[in-house]
C-alpha cells in the first residue's frame, strides 16, 4: 500500500510528497529500507526496486512489515541535486527535525517519526559523484556493540566503525540510534550511477538480515552472503588528500590491497603535459575508497586505505 509520510504545498500547483510502500503480512517485526536522502545517490533506487519486487511477489514469505522509502529527498532526485533544492540544505543534517519548524524541518520530523519504533532501518547511501566506495556499513563507535552483529548479517564487504562526531548527531541514523531505533548506514559505489551486481548483493544481504530477524521465511541461496572485513580501530584508516589542484587520473579500482609506496594515481596538468603530483599509498592495506571525479583542489579526498597487513587479496 502506497502511503504518504508527509505532504506539503509547494508555491505553484504542486504537492511535495514523501511516500512509502507499506507491505505487511502476518505478525512480526518491522524493517524499513530508506534511501534518497542525497539526490545524487542512486544505488538505493535499484535496491528498493529489488526488495519491493521480492516482497510484493512473495508476500506469503513475509511475517511482519517491510516499509520502503525510496526518496527522502524527492526534489533532489528528480532534479539531480544532492541537497534539497530551494533550501540549499543537506537533508542529513537536520534530523530529528521539528514539527513546528520550517518546511524542511517538518519534513525531517515526519520522516523520523514514521521510522521511529521500527526493529531495523537500513539507510542506503551511494557516496557522491566524487568518490567510489567499496560496499560498506558505517557505524559510529558508540553504537558498534549493538549494530556490528546486524551489519555482519548483511554480508557486506567492509564494516567501518568510526569515531563519533558531534556534527554527525544531526543525521537520520544518529537520531534513530540514539532514541532506540537501530539504523544501519550502507555506503556503496559512486553517485549518479547504478551498479546492478552491488545492488543485488546488498539485496541478498538484506534478505539474510530479514531471515535472521524472523521477517522473511527464506534465507538467500548458499554462498550469496559473504563475510565482512571489520575495521574497528580508530586510527586504522589512512586518508589520501590531493597535495595540489589539477586533474586526477588513476587506473586502479577500489577493493584491492595496496602496498606502501605504490602509485595510486597522478595529478596532472593538461596545459603543460607535466605530472604535478604522484599519489602514493602511505601504507599497506585495503583501498576501500578511490576518487571517481577527476577535477581536484588541494585537499580533495583521493582515497582511503584500511591499514591492515593481514588481509588477503581475493
Amino acid at each position: 500500500m502506497i502511503q504518504n509520510v508527509t505532504a506539503l504545498e509547494m508555491p505553484i500547483d504542486e504537492e511535495f510528497r514523501i511516500v512509502k510502500n507499506h507491505i505487511t503480512h502476518g505478525k512480526g517485526k518491522r524493517i524499513c529500507i530508506v534511501t534518497g536522502t542525497h539526490g545524487d545517490e542512486l544505488e538505493g533506487q535499484y535496491v528498493c526496486y529489488l526488495i519491493a519486487k521480492m516482497v510484493s511477489e512473495n508476500k506469503h514469505k513475509l511475517s511482519g512489515t517491510v516499509d520502503i522509502y525510496p526518496a527522502l529527498n524527492p526534489l533532489g532526485i528528480d532534479t539531480m541535486q544532492r541537497g534539497v533544492p530551494a533550501f540549499d540544505l543537506d537533508m542529513n543534517r537536520i534530523f530529528p527535525g521539528n514539527n513546528r519548524g520550517s518546511m524542511i524541518e517538518k519534513v525531517a520530523h515526519d520522516i523520523y517519526t514514521d521510522l521511529s519504533g521500527a526493529d531495523m532501518v537500513i539507510d542506503i547511501h551511494a557516496s557522491n559523484i566524487f568518490l567510489r566506495e567499496m560496499p560498506q556499513v558505517r557505524i559510529s563507535e558508540t553504537t558498534a556493540p549493538t549494530l556490528v552483529p546486524y551489519a555482519r548479517m548483511l554480508g557486506i564487504d567492509f564494516i567501518w566503525v568510526h569515531q563519533a562526531a558531534t556534527v554527525l548527531e544531526s543525521t537520520l541514523a544518529h537520531s534513530l540510534n540514539s532514541t532506540g531505533t537501530p539504523c544501519l548506514v550502507a555506503e556503496m559505489a559512486v553517485g549518479g550511477r547504478i551498479s546492478h551486481s552491488m545492488c543485488q548483493k546488498l539485496t541478498d544481504g538484506i534478505q539474510n538480515l530479514m531471515f535472521h530477524m524472523g521477517i522473511w521465511s527464506e534465507a538467500p541461496e548458499e554462498g550469496k552472503v559473504g563475510d565482512s572485513i571489520l575495521c574497528d580501530k580508530g586510527d586504522a584508516v589512512a586518508f589520501l588528500n590531493a597535495q595540489v589542484s589539477g586533474i586526477f587520473t588513476t587506473e586502479i579500482h577500489n577493493g584491492v590491497m595496496v602496498r606502501e609506496g605504490q602509485l595510486i594515481g597522478q595529478i596532472i596538468s593538461p596545459l603543460t603535459g607535466k605530472v604535478l603530483s604522484d599519489v602514493l599509498s602511505p601504507c599497506n592495506g585495503l583501498l576501500f575508497t578511490i576518487r571517481a571525479y577527476p577535477v581536484v583542489y588541494e585537499g580533495s579526498l583521493l582515497g582511503r586505505i584500511y591499514k591492515d597487513e593481514s588481509i588477503q587479496e581475493s
Binding site: 557522491n128 589542484s245 577535477v295 583542489y297 588541494e298 585537499g299
Partner: protein
C-alpha cells in the same frame, strides 16, 4: 594598514584562491572581523569593505590605541561570490560549517584551518553572519550559549537586541562556536540584509562596531560612519537580551505568492495583517498572516513565494 595573503590555493584553471587580511595598528591581537563566507553575502562584503576604509582613516588620524591590532578579513570565500554560488562550488560544502578546520583534510576544511590559524588568538571576534533562510533581520548581535559567551560585552555594540541560542549538534562546526571554545569572545553580527546592499542597515552595523571598539578602548573616537537613522544609537540605552526560543515564529499555513505588508523593525499590534498569501493562478487571497500579539518584526522573509510551513516572520513579544 598592512595587507597580507593569509591563505592561498591554486585552482585547476581559475586564478589562485586568496584570502586577504587587512591589519591596523600594532601589538596585542585585540579584534578580528570576518566578512563573507558564503557567496550571497553581498551586504556583509559591503560592510567589511567600508570598515577597512574607516579603519584606514582612523589609523591615519591617530585614533587607534597603541599596542593593539585589529584585523579585517573581508572575505573567506571570494571564489563562490564570483560565480554566484552560496557554497564551495565543487563539492557544495559550507566553509562556515568546517571550523576549527583541519589542515590535512578536505579543501574547505583546509581553508577553515588556514583562516582559523590566523584569527584564533584575538581577544574579540566579530563575524558578519547571514541566515540560511532568505530574509531581512533587525541588525542584532547573536551568540551561542557555550558557557563562554559574554553577553555584557555583546551589549556594548549598542544594538537594540542581543540574541542567544542553545547550539544544536550542527552548530558546533560554526566559526562563532569554535571562536568561543578557543577563548575568543565571539559575536555574530547580522547586518540586516544578505544578497542586496542596504546602505542604512550597513551604517547601523558599522556604528555598532565603532561603538564596541570605543567602549573597549580600541579606538579613541568614533569611526566616521555617515549619518543614518538612529536605531539604538543612544550609548546608554540598554539592549534587550532575547533567547531565540522565546520569539514568536509565524509560518505559512499555505503555499503561494507572498505579499508582505510590514518590514523589519516595525512595531505591530495584535490583529495587524503582516502578509497575504495569494493563490498563484486565481489571484485570490488564500490566507492572511496576522500578528498573534503586540510585538516588533525581527525577521521577515524577503522572497515573494513561499512553501507551506516556511518561516515568514519572527517576532519579538512586546510584553
Amino acid at each position: 594598514m598592512k595587507v597580507q595573503t593569509i591563505f592561498r590555493m591554486s585552482s585547476p584553471y581559475r586564478d589562485d584562491f586568496r584570502i586577504k587580511a587587512y591589519t591596523f595598528g600594532n601589538g596585542k591581537k585585540t579584534l578580528c572581523l570576518v566578512g563573507t563566507m558564503r557567496g550571497d553575502e553581498i551586504q556583509q562584503q559591503y560592510v567589511a569593505s567600508r570598515l577597512v576604509a574607516l579603519l584606514r582613516s582612523a589609523e591615519e588620524a591617530g585614533m587607534l590605541t597603541d599596542k593593539m591590532s585589529i584585523s579585517i578579513i573581508p572575505s573567506v570565500n571570494p571564489s563562490s561570490i564570483n560565480i554566484e554560488k552560496r557554497f564551495w562550488a565543487l563539492d557544495g560544502t559550507d566553509i562556515n560549517r568546517m571550523f576549527p578546520g583541519y589542515d590535512q583534510g578536505e579543501t574547505t576544511q583546509r581553508i577553515a584551518a588556514g583562516v582559523f590559524e590566523f584569527i584564533k588568538d584575538y581577544q574579540f571576534g566579530i563575524q558578519l553572519a547571514s541566515y540560511y533562510l532568505p530574509g531581512n533581520f533587525l541588525p542584532h548581535v547573536h551568540m551561542f550559549r557555550t558557557g563562554f559567551e559574554d553577553i555584557d560585552n555583546a551589549c556594548l555594540f549598542g544594538l537594540p537586541y542581543v540574541t542567544v541560542a542553545t547550539p544544536k549538534p550542527f552548530d558546533t562546526v560554526l566559526l562563532n562556536y569554535n571562536w568561543q571554545i578557543w577563548d575568543t569572545q565571539a559575536f555574530s553580527l547580522y547586518a540586516g540584509t544578505t544578497d542586496v546592499i542596504d546602505h542604512e542597515m550597513a551604517n547601523i552595523t558599522l556604528k555598532s562596531i565603532s561603538r564596541f571598539m570605543l567602549q573597549k578602548g580600541i579606538i579613541s573616537r568614533p569611526l566616521n560612519v555617515d549619518d543614518c537613522s538612529d536605531i539604538g544609537q543612544e550609548d546608554d540605552a540598554m539592549p534587550t537580551v532575547i533567547d531565540m526560543a522565546d520569539m514568536i515564529d509565524l509560518q505559512a499555513p499555505h503555499a503561494g505568492l507572498l505579499i508582505t505588508k510590514v518590514s523589519v523593525g516595525q512595531s505591530i499590534r495584535k490583529g495587524d495583517t503582516l502578509a497575504q498569501i495569494m493563490h498563484p493562478y486565481e489571484g485570490r487571497e488564500t490566507c492572511r498572516i496576522v500578528a498573534p500579539e503586540d510585538g516588533i518584526v525581527f525577521f521577515a522573509r524577503n522572497k515573494s513565494i513561499t512553501f507551506q510551513n516556511t518561516l515568514l516572520f519572527r517576532l519579538i513579544k512586546c510584553s
